[in-house]
Amino acid sequence: MELLIKKLLEEKIIIQEKADEITAFEATKPLSVYWELRSLLLLGISLFGTGIGILIYQNIDTIGHGVLIAMIAFLCGLCFWYAYKNRQAFVWAEVKNPNPLSDFALLGACVLFLILEGYVQFQYALFGDSYGLATFIPAALFIFLSYFFDHQGVLSMGITLLGSWLGLEVSPKNILSTFQITNSPLVHTAILYGFALIALGWYSEWKALKKHFSFTFYLFGANLSFMALLTALFSFDLKFAYFLLIVLLSTLCIFHARQTKSYLLLLLGVFYGYVGLSYFIFHNLNEDFALTFGYLYFSTSCGGIVYFLLNVKKILGVKKDLKL
């Protein structure tokens, strides 16, 4: 540290007063435990949810359903009230809440809401056989709350629940009785839902409506549509059509990554595109030839991808000093 300050003084980058200020700062600065505390809070919320579940399971006979439901509802309400009390005014731009506990209170409230709903449904069959309704209500609520409180974690929960609702609506019999998920309506719905999420992400970005949410939409949308397209490619006929869609989506991801400087989208585009391309090539090869060709293919193609990722800025025409 002294060496660095001395060098900065020698090069006349800072003056002596600034050097003294920096030395005093280094001597008195507090040790940051921001990430440790944040991780502990997240872990606490998850463990709390799990603990409540176990507590209910183990004491169901002695405590009584009414008391447990009232307790969960009270805690859920308390968390919602705390989050509402410490909220920031709604705007379409990103809102930073100075009170980080409020974010965790909202997350806790949402987890408790799901536990409460599941409990009531299991015990009293509140929604009867309308499982779709039981998933749609929290999905709609969480998406509304995510926009109202500007919370990406709750948005992720909402998107996941909306996906569950769509799955139950499209193919309830298969999911609930056989757990068979490779049927055509379900996979096609997943592809469409994924594309819809990507479109929503693009719209959020374009119209600057909670622009920072677009990353969550892209992440869920790209993963879901890629996985559904790969499932369709592996399981259904019309392989060429699905393969073309994978190539299209991969290209979109790579070029959007270039525009938005998102490495994650680039990785998704390359990874899923590679899996799809490899499957399509080997599916059309004779088995004996595929075995011999496979070794050469994987070593050279993976080498090619490493070269691509290593020279990604040059290949995509991004200036070297710019962060992609």
Binding site: L4, I13, K18, L266, L267, F298, C302, L309
Partner: protein
Amino acid sequence: MKAYIESWVANIKFKSILRAWFNNNLLNQDQLEHGNALYKEDFYKPNWYIWIGLFIFTNIAVSFSTTTFLAFLGIFDENKGLSISLFIFSIGLFLVLERFIKVKKLYRSGIDNALLYLALGYFYAAVLLYFEFNFASYFYPLLLCIILLPACVRYAEPLVTIFCVCSFFRIYFFSSIYISIG
């Protein structure tokens, strides 16, 4: 002694300190830029996501290349032949790693990590195969420690260091069983 340019590694640390001072309003933009210009380094350090991609695909590429060569040689059933081949691959990987660090200026880029793990793994497997796994149980961690120690010194790679320390404690554990004091 060290594979990476040491002054550049130190400069990474200096630049992060300068950035922290800038974030705490102790330096202005101009001072930060001058400071960064003073502590130049030109390592290739990719973003975390690209790191994952480079690491996975390097592993697959090297593993399949090795398997292809071994298949061509047709020595899967002979322990000695396989061992010598793995030893040669290991040396080859170390040479490639050194070359990449020197020419491509890689530093914790996913590629150098993968090459180092594979080279060390091949070397360890080559020795074990050559002696047909005919060792006393304490020899395995001892051998691992002997192989990893020079790599720790030369590359200062965190995971290799963790394994080296773990193998050392494993030796200590075995020695406490076999050697009694008093």
